[in-house]
Assembly symmetry: C2
Homo-oligomer: 314 residues x 2
């Protein structure tokens, strides 16, 4: 399990390659939530999401020989784009296995950053098979999107920066998908401040983390019919034990609440966030018993939205 | 004509009531424009645009007696919302004459800030008539959206903050409609740094400032068929002489370029800007002969967009 010290080291390692993104506040959302909200804006991050943190941390620790072999991953988009950016910057090649229902903007982001896309069906079995084939056929090195300690350490640097800027937070909340961001957040925040509470927010339509936590064992999603294209992955074997041992709770959110909260953030904060990241505010607004009168840090995880496919027009 | 000193005084006066908005940069837009761009983000301003600056400066100089009579204005929306916010905060009442094709979000903003709306047709004659009737019938005090030295001084504080943060800008560019923002920018910037160039950007479909500058006399718009609902007003008798004497040029922009640039800002900067404010970047991208290799300050004037009516779906 990553330690605070390892996450601090990761931060020193990746700092020259990432943005220290701003923390925004908004009085009308404070009023609505009856809490004091601090939004860590990873939608302004390089390649449009926090994923560049973990990817950079992992890639900087590859040997030259491994980099020369090429790097591969499976990703719904943001990790793929981030990994491609990090690998291309070091002169390597990236292959990204992506589901064939990925939004256009995420496809373009991977391509613009020099990644090569290998298509799969939008389910875990097809994804695993395609990735296995790429690894076997090309000898590429796998950089997993979340089930990897280097990735978890990298994602943990988001809360390092947030807690540096806002040292007296009572609660942190992040979206949860494969668990890299939530895992890294838990490892850093709970060691830094033993009183802090940490929650994950997850779509009801892909609530494997919620059900896994309830049952104590990893559960899978039979379907992932959620607008949150970044939150369809399955909780990992490395990330799950961290979450099980440390998290204060996983909060499942309906599609309707995700979409209306995303629109609310756009209208009131004047920033573009993707559905996968609006979910954290939706959890806060729907659970006043947990969050009211608290100082709450929310990680706005990314801003890669296809502007031609906005959910409130569906 | 407002002086640098008056604008500095206005800034001290309004400072406690406004945000000092952030200045953002974006490496991909720098690359595309071949310039160094500094975006002053008034889309994050209170009531969603720079208009709160002028409105606050004007309202704070009203006598208690005048405030008691009530305040009235004609506005396509942003000035109306800003004036309502400023007046309501001091306990007064605001009447806002608005064209009946104003986007919903701007209507809601006026109402939320306590303003009362009086509808008119979307043309200058109907607007003037409705406003005259309100003033005569109610004895309200007029706070004009731009043709007023207090307003011009208030709007000029935007470039005061921008030039404080980025002291070595070569060029400033703002949208132009009635001329309050451009006028205030010219009065401040040209006195602060005699070498700075200042441009205005205007829709081709409402290019009265451009034609007025060419002819040396105020010209009117026969139609204002532009997506920029904030840029349909007519250049003013107080603002025009400032612009005529000081501006380096007015750049007319097509609707197509305004819309594609607005989408580009959303996608690359992950911030919500209204069409009226995307126009400044469109002018920079279309005029490399003026802007390339320069440090350019762009005033992103506002972020009040109706998210149910996005122009790229039309």
């Amino acid at each position: 399990m990553p330690t605070l010290k390892e996450i601090q080291k990761a931060h020193s390692r990746i700092k020259p390659f990432i943005h220290n993104t701003p923390v925004l506040t908004n009085s009308s959302l404070d009023h609505l939530s009856q809490a004091e909200l601090f939004f860590k804006c990873e939608n302004f991050q390089k390649a449009g999401s926090f994923k560049i943190r973990g990817a950079t941390n992992a890639v900087l620790q590859l040997s030259e020989e491994d980099l020369y072999k090429g790097v591969a991953t499976a990703s719904s988009g943001n990790h793929g784009a981030a990994l491609s950016m990090a690998v291309t910057a070091l002169g390597g090649k990236t292959k990204v296995v992506m589901p064939n229902n990925t939004p256009d903007i995420k496809i373009r982001n991977v391509k613009r950053n020099g990644g090569q896309i290998i298509w799969c069906e939008p389910n875990q079995i097809s994804r695993d098979k395609a990735l296995r084939e790429v690894l076997e056929d090309t000898g590429s090195i796998l950089v997993h999107p979340y089930n990897d300690n280097h990735i978890i350490c990298g994602q943990g640097t988001t809360s390092l920066e947030l807690m540096d800027e806002c040292p007296d937070l009572d609660i942190l909340i992040t979206p949860v998908s494969g668990g890299g961001l939530l895992g890294g957040t838990l490892c850093y925040a709970k060691e830094k401040n033993k009183n802090i509470q940490v929650y994950g927010a997850e779509p009801m339509e892909a609530d494997d983390a919620y059900r896994s936590l309830l049952s104590g064992e990893i559960q899978s999603n039979e379907t992932t019919n959620t607008i949150c294209d970044g939150l369809r992955a399955q909780i990992g074997t490395i990330t799950f034990p961290i979450i099980r041992d440390k998290v204060n709770g996983i909060i499942p959110i309906s599609e309707k609440d995700i979409i209306s909260t995303m629109k609310m953030i756009w209208e009131r904060m004047k920033i573009i966030v993707e559905p996968s990241c609006a979910i954290a505010l939706a959890a806060v607004l729907n659970n006043k018993n947990i969050f009211s009168d608290k100082k709450v840090g929310l990680i706005l995880s990314g801003g890669n939205v296809d502007l031609d496919q906005l959910p409130w027009f569906d």
